[in-house]
């Protein structure tokens, strides 16, 4: 594969384009990264430096006070562990449910398919709203359980449709041969379709994981027990300025120090960011599909 790939790039114009393209994308990458570097640098800076310098990528005096403050809170550490577990388990469940529903819908001869798809698409533009959804979750007895963070968002219609479209594009011959071997659709999905769909599944694993990870409303509304809370409950409370307390003149409490805000952002963002490279290797494997087809 490598040799043929190279041959199609090696023209003078192609090389010139490569240079420009590399330069351009590196700039794009840096622009994307810089503000985050500032957040990281700020999390290691002293409050005095944060107050006087407006933007920097390296702190003058190095300080880990902010991190010490965060990690001495047992509640924060517990929330971090909880969030990682809920995200891992939740993403798996959501992905399986979505793939299971996407597969039958990818069969254009399935009766009722268009009605179901229309109903699915309708939910993308209209939802019952916060209070009715809460009432449903409550009536199902899911309050104060981690299911409440996973099930109400189990299938994202957008993800469902993209995965369904992906299944549709898979070569039909593969399934035919599975059928000839006597496999039913369930077995075909599990042993033929899903392994072939790794790039798209990896993509949506990331989407789902980020969805659960960043979800703030569900734990707020569905979990009364603060020992069950996830990271976003902390992040939110730290980063959102307490407007009301200023209007009320309630200044007994200082707003959280800027450095702590930054440190919380770093701690809450890094794990999910580190999750990505594990998925990326599956993205690359997507290349193989063409080969299989040949």
């Amino acid at each position: 594969m490598a040799a043929s790939n190279l041959s199609r790039f090696n023209t003078p114009a192609g090389r010139a384009f490569d240079v420009v393209n590399v330069a351009l994308l590196v700039v794009v990458g840096v622009v994307a990264l810089l503000p985050f570097v500032y957040v990281i640098a700020g999390s290691f800076a002293t409050e005095a430096e944060l107050a006087t310098r407006s933007f920097f990528v390296w702190p003058e005096t190095f300080s880990i006070d902010a991190y010490r403050a965060i990690f001495t809170s047992p509640a924060f550490t517990r929330a971090l562990v909880t969030t990682i577990l809920v995200t891992a388990v939740g993403t798996t469940i959501q992905l399986l449910l979505t793939a299971a529903m996407a597969y039958p819908l990818s069969k254009s001869n399935l009766p009722g398919r268009r009605v179901i798809l229309s109903l699915v698409v309708f939910t993308m533009v209209f939802s019952g709203g916060m209070i009715p959804t809460f009432l449903v979750v409550k009536d199902l007895g899911l309050l104060d359980t981690y299911w409440a963070l996973v099930l109400p968002m189990a299938i994202n219609p957008f993800s469902l449709i993209i995965i369904k479209n992906f299944f549709q594009q898979l070569p039909a011959e593969l399934e035919e041969s599975a059928k000839i071997d006597g496999a039913n659709e369930l077995q075909t999905l599990w042993s033929v379709i899903l392994p072939l769909s790794k790039p798209v599944l990896a993509t949506f694993a990331l989407f789902y994981a980020v969805g659960i990870w960043n979800d703030f409303m569900s734990p707020l509304l569905y979990l009364n027990d603060s020992s069950m809370w996830t990271l976003q409950m902390f992040l939110r409370q730290v980063t959102v300025a307490t407007d009301l307390s200023i209007v009320e003149g309630d200044t007994t409490q200082l707003p959280p120090a800027q450095g702590i805000k930054f440190a919380v952002i770093v701690v809450a963002t890094l794990p999910i960011l580190l999750f990505y490279p594990f998925l990326q290797k599956h993205f690359a494997k997507g290349m193989l599909i063409g080969a299989v087809k040949g």
Binding site: K138, S226, Q237, V247, D250
Partner: protein
């Protein structure tokens, strides 16, 4: 083709509705004896208190009842309140943060007990500040035990070293304030030879008109009243007065002459102290406790000289030569008892019994100061904070203070200041507050809740508060500001005025 899906959707809907009625049937059995008191309360710090912490245990001992507290982040309290009211698992007591339209609607629909007739029977709930209780009521119906706050808090905080450098005294009048702001901007108060300073620091204000912003305070000083004022026997919003127009012109002069930070429309209020500490600006118009906050920060960065930077002053005399002091509402929300949980009068009395103990002399110090020997030590009748206490416990003290009502006066120990200078400043503050209180201009409309205001108020108020900033920024002229007030009136404001006056006359 959309016809078919919608028909199918209807079928699904009715199926869903059937299941719903099936599920909600289970109602919980209620016992009259109160073993556990459940409370919903906001917390403002980073960490919510953990169940069964030391403070909660100490409180449970005093009130002789188990406490089950649901802590909700302050930033999303309103959402959680509405969700909780919509469900059927309510706490016995809910902290309500103010007379928001949402609360008023629920209260008028009968969601909460009217406590007007009950509170006086309980020694610790019978308030010594009936006028504040009235202000916290909805048209004289008391739906909650108010959480008392200092009434007189407005303060001008200035850079003391700058004042000395330009040879001026702390201000007493609004003219003095202008003088000082001008000197702080033009006469190089930090002596570095550069024109890199300005006078007053004003942040982007999160509230609307009449929400204790520096603008509102300046307008009160000019005699425009406090949110509402009485003119010719009729209550009118303060922005309909001559004095208001005078005050905004004063504000505009400050801004036009560059005596205020140029980004006053966008500057983050969480960073309000920074320009003061960094020596960019030298005046903050806010509440007294901010001065203490600033001194604390200075003490960290410059422990040797921290007593050289801060000067405070109280309310300022307006151009009419009179002192119109700007008070707060005197309360910050209240503790309400939802009827959906507390169904009978017996149950209500059981709840009030516990709340009475929660506001007792024994419970007060726990709510306000924490645990003696752990979070504070007693020195005479002053509390000395214990710096070695774990941070989570210090945070917990601040959270439990949210449950305190102090309706019979402050129940905790005042904090002892760490140094002589701080004590001096604190005493000066109390003195100023005491002196200003006499001249407080209270909001005469506070107890009255107008129907129209509940349904449209937020929309209406934003018209005027935006126009004020637009005028200050030069986007519109004074006539434009007056037009905005006219728009406020025609869009429903006139109705609000007549409703408020009717309620007042009927009172």
């Amino acid at each position: 083709m959309t016809r078919h899906p919608s028909r199918a959707a209807l079928a699904l809907l009715s199926a869903g509705a059937l299941t719903l009625t099936g599920c909600t049937a289970a109602a919980e059995a209620e016992t009259v004896e109160l073993k556990t008191l459940s409370i919903m309360a906001p917390y403002l710090v980073t960490n919510a208190p953990q169940p069964d912490n030391e403070i909660e245990q100490a409180l449970e001992e005093v009130v002789d009842t188990d406490l089950d507290i649901t802590w909700v982040p302050n930033s999303s309290y309103e959402d959680k309140t509405n969700i909780t009211l919509a469900g059927d698992d309510l706490p016995h007591v809910m902290v309500i943060q103010g007379k928001t339209p949402g609360f008023v609607k629920n209260a008028k629909a009968g969601a909460f007990w009217d406590l007007t007739e009950y509170l006086d029977e309980y020694p610790n709930l019978s308030t010594s500040f009936p006028e504040v209780q009235k202000a916290a009521s909805i048209n004289d119906q008391v739906f909650g035990i108010f959480r008392a706050r200092d009434v007189m808090r407005a303060s001008v905080i200035l850079r003391k070293d700058w004042l000395q450098n330009v040879g001026l005294e702390a201000p007493e009048t609004t003219d003095d304030l202008y003088e000082i702001a001008k000197a702080f901007t033009e006469r190089d108060p930090d002596g570095n030879g550069q024109a890199d300073t300005y006078g007053i620091i004003i942040p982007k204000w999160p509230g609307m008109i009449g929400s204790n912003s520096p603008y509102d305070v300046i307008e009160t000083w000019h005699g425009a009243g406090n949110r509402w004022t009485e003119r010719d026997g009729e209550l009118v919003p303060s922005f309909m007065t001559e004095e208001f127009l005078e005050a905004v012109q004063y504000e505009k002069q400050l801004i036009d002459e560059g005596l205020v930070n140029p980004d006053y429309a966008t500057f983050d209020s969480a960073k309000w102290n920074e320009p003061f500490l960094n020596g960019n600006g030298g005046i903050i118009i806010d509440v007294h406790s901010r001065a203490g906050q600033i001194m604390g920060l200075l003490k960290q960065s410059d422990p040797e000289n921290f007593d050289r930077y801060v000067e405070i002053s109280g309310n300022l005399v307006g151009p009419d030569g009179d002192l119109h002091a700007h008070p707060t509402a005197g309360y910050s929300g209240f503790l309400a008892v939802p009827k959906a949980k507390v169904r009978t009068e017996e149950q209500l009395r059981a709840v009030l019994e516990v709340l009475d103990k929660l506001n007792s002399e024994e419970a007060g110090p726990i709510l306000n100061n924490g645990i003696e020997g752990v979070t504070y030590e007693l020195d005479g009748d002053l509390a000395v904070g214990n710096d070695d206490a774990p941070q989570t416990l210090k945070d917990d003290v601040l959270s439990y203070a949210q449950l305190g009502t102090n309706v019979t006066g402050f129940q905790g120990y005042r904090p002892k200041q760490a140094s002589e200078y701080e004590q001096e400043m604190y005493d000066k503050r109390l003195e100023i507050e005491q002196a200003d209180l006499e001249f407080a201009e209270f909001d005469p409309s506070a107890p009255y809740v107008s129907e129209t205001y509940v349904s449209k108020g937020a929309q209406l108020d934003v018209i005027v508060s935006d126009a004020r900033i637009q005028y200050l920024a030069g986007q519109i002229d004074l006539a434009g500001l007056e037009d905005a007030v006219e728009r406020w009136r025609s869009a429903g404001g006139d109705q609000v005025i007549s409703e408020i006056n009717e309620l007042r006359d009927a009172d």
